[in-house]
C-alpha cells in the first residue's frame, strides 16, 4: 500500500455564516488521482484554497507528507511540493509565457539561467514551447489553462491540485489536456482534480469525492459514486422533483 501524501481531516471553512466547506475528510495516497466533484458552489474551489494555504481552515487539520500544514501560507506549501492551478486562471499577463514558467521554476532552481532551462523542458512537455515568446495575455483559453499547468509543474510538485483545467476547452483540446494529465500521473505525482465533465473524472480518477453544499456526500470508486443515490439526488434532485 502506497503512503498517504495528503490527509484532509474534518475540514471546515466558513465565510460569515456560510459553511462553504463542511467537515470534509479523505486521504490521498502517493501517486493516486482523486476526483473532486459537486454542483456549482459546492465548495470545491474553497477546499482547494484551504489545502493550498490561501485560507486557514476554520476547523480541522491538513497533513501533507505527515506534516501538519493547516494554516501554512501558500508560498511555503509551494516550496514543499504542493502545486496548484486556478479555476479563474492567473497568468502574469504582462510577461511572456516563458517568463511565467521561469518564475515558477525559481523556487527550485534559484538562478534565472537554470530556471529557464527547466522552463523550456516544461514547455516542451506541455506543448507550449512554440508560444514561449508570446505575451501570456495573448494566449487562447486553452493556452492559458495549459500555462497554469506548466507553472504548477515547474515547481516539481509531489501533489498537484487541478481546478477545472479541462472546462471550456473544445473536444480536441480537452483530449490533449487529459492525455497530459495522464502523463503527469505517470510520473507518480498525486493529483486532486476538480472537473464538471464526468467523462474526464471517470477517465482519470482512481477515486472520487463528492461535495454538495460544502458537505462530503460520497467517497469511492468512480463507478460506485456514479450509482450512489445521494450523488444522483445532488446532481439531478431538482429536476426529478
Amino acid at each position: 500500500m502506497a503512503e498517504t501524501i495528503l490527509k484532509v481531516q474534518d475540514v471546515v471553512k466558513t465565510f460569515g455564516g456560510l459553511h462553504a466547506v463542511n467537515r470534509v475528510t479523505f486521504d490521498l495516497a502517493e501517486g493516486e488521482v482523486m476526483g473532486l466533484i459537486g454542483p456549482n458552489g459546492a465548495g470545491k474551489t474553497t477546499l482547494f484554497n484551504v489545502i493550498s494555504g490561501y485560507y486557514p481552515p476554520t476547523q480541522g487539520r491538513i497533513h501533507f507528507k505527515g506534516q501538519d500544514v493547516s494554516g501554512v501560507p501558500p508560498y511555503k506549501l509551494a516550496a514543499i511540493g504542493i502545486g496548484r492551478t486556478f479555476q479563474v486562471v492567473k497568468p502574469f499577463p504582462g510577461l511572456s509565457v516563458l517568463e511565467n514558467v521561469i518564475i515558477a521554476g525559481l523556487c527550485r532552481y534559484g538562478t534565472r539561467r537554470a530556471s529557464e532551462k527547466h522552463a523550456w523542458k516544461i514547455l516542451d512537455f506541455t506543448g507550449l514551447a512554440d508560444q514561449a515568446d508570446k505575451s501570456a495575455a495573448n494566449l487562447t483559453l486553452a493556452g492559458r489553462k495549459r500555462l497554469e499547468i506548466s507553472k504548477a509543474l515547474a515547481l516539481e510538485p509531489s501533489l498537484l491540485l487541478l481546478d477545472e483545467v479541462v472546462a471550456g476547452l473544445n473536444p480536441t483540446e480537452a483530449d490533449k489536456t487529459i492525455e497530459l494529465i495522464l502523463k503527469i500521473k505517470g510520473f507518480g505525482i498525486s493529483i486532486l482534480i476538480v472537473e464538471h465533465i464526468m467523462r474526464v473524472i471517470m477517465n482519470l480518477s482512481d477515486r472520487v469525492v463528492v461535495l454538495n453544499f460544502g458537505q462530503q456526500i460520497a467517497l469511492g470508486k468512480p463507478a460506485d459514486v456514479a450509482r450512489d443515490p445521494m450523488v444522483i439526488q445532488a446532481y439531478f434532485g431538482e429536476d426529478a422533483a
Partner: protein
C-alpha cells in the same frame, strides 16, 4: 522620510560626534535601510493603502521628533562646517546615483529578484502559488529603495551645510519624486529619469518666470499627476515601450496571419490626434 534620516545622521555625527563626512554617508544609508525594514514589515503585510498611510504618518512623526529633540537642534535646524567644493559633491551624487542604477539594473533585469517583483505586481495570489513570499519581496524592495535615498540625504546635508525639519522631512521633495516617477513611468528604470529631467526643467523655468505665483507650483504638479494617471497610466516611457512593442508585434504577426485592418486605423488615429488636440 529616508532622505531626512540620512541628512540628520550625517549632521548629528559630524557635528556632535566629530566624525568624518565619508564615514557618515554609509551610516545614513544603513539607518534608512533599517528604518525601512521596520516600517515595511508590519505595513507591507496589509493590503491597500495602509502602507501609504503608515509611511506618511511616520514621516510626520519623524519631522515632529526633529522639531523637539535637542540633538537635532529643534526648529532651528543644524549648521555644518561649509565645504565649498561643488564638484566634490557632484561626484558623490553621481557615484551614488550611478551605483544605484547599476545595482537596480542587475537586480531587476538580470537576477531572479526582478521577475519576482513583476510577478507580484501582475498577480499577487498567482505569485504566492509559485513559492514567492510577497511580503518578503516587498520589504526587500522597500529597503532597497530607502538606502540610496538615505545616502543622498547624507550628502545633501553636508553639501547644503544646513538642514532643518522642513527641508529634511518636508513633503515637497517627496511630492516631486512622485511626479517624476508617475509622469516618467512607474516600474521602469528609465521612466523616472525622464520624469526627473522634465520636472527639473519645469522647476527651473517656473522659478525664472512665475516665481510670483508660488502657489501654482504644487497645483501644476498635482494636475500633471492627475492627467498622467488618466491619460497615460504607464507614464511617458511606459507608453512609448507599449507602443513600440505593439507595433513590433503587428509586424511579426503579419508574417503568419492575415493582417487585421483595425490595426492600421489605430495607427492613423495615434498619429492624427496630436494635430487636432
Amino acid at each position: 522620510m529616508f532622505f531626512g534620516v540620512g541628512a540628520y545622521t550625517t549632521a548629528i555625527l559630524m557635528k556632535l560626534g566629530g566624525w568624518a563626512f565619508i564615514l557618515t554617508v554609509p551610516l545614513g544609508g544603513l539607518f534608512a535601510g533599517i528604518l525601512a525594514f521596520f516600517v515595511g514589515l508590519p505595513t507591507l503585510r496589509l493590503k491597500g493603502s495602509y502602507f501609504a498611510i503608515g509611511t506618511w504618518a511616520l514621516a510626520l512623526a519623524l519631522q515632529q521628533l526633529a522639531l523637539i529633540l535637542d540633538i537635532t537642534g529643534g526648529p532651528d535646524g543644524m549648521r555644518l562646517p561649509p565645504y565649498l567644493n561643488p564638484s566634490y559633491f557632484y561626484y558623490w551624487m553621481l557615484g551614488v546615483v550611478g551605483g544605484t542604477f547599476a545595482l537596480y539594473w542587475i537586480l531587476l533585469e538580470w537576477a531572479p529578484f526582478g521577475l519576482k517583483v513583476r510577478a507580484i505586481r501582475e498577480d499577487q495570489d498567482g505569485a504566492m502559488a509559485l513559492g514567492i513570499n510577497p511580503t518578503r519581496v516587498k520589504v526587500q524592495s522597500f529597503v532597497l529603495s530607502a538606502v540610496p535615498v538615505g545616502l543622498l540625504g547624507s550628502i545633501y546635508a553636508y553639501w547644503i551645510t544646513f538642514i532643518d525639519p522642513l527641508s529634511a522631512f518636508g513633503d515637497i521633495l517627496t511630492d516631486q519624486a512622485v511626479v517624476m516617477a508617475v509622469v516618467g513611468g512607474l516600474g521602469t528604470l528609465i521612466g523616472p529619469a525622464i520624469g526627473a529631467v522634465i520636472v527639473f526643467t519645469f522647476k527651473t523655468l517656473f522659478w525664472a518666470y512665475l516665481s510670483d505665483y508660488q502657489v501654482l507650483y504644487l497645483i501644476i504638479l498635482g494636475v500633471a499627476i492627475a492627467l498622467t494617471v488618466l491619460f497615460l497610466p504607464n507614464g511617458l516611457w511606459g507608453t512609448f515601450i507599449n507602443y513600440r512593442d505593439s507595433s513590433r508585434g503587428m509586424r511579426t504577426q503579419s508574417v503568419s496571419r492575415p493582417r487585421i485592418d483595425a490595426s492600421e486605423h489605430s495607427d492613423e488615429q495615434e498619429k492624427g490626434a496630436p494635430e487636432h488636440g
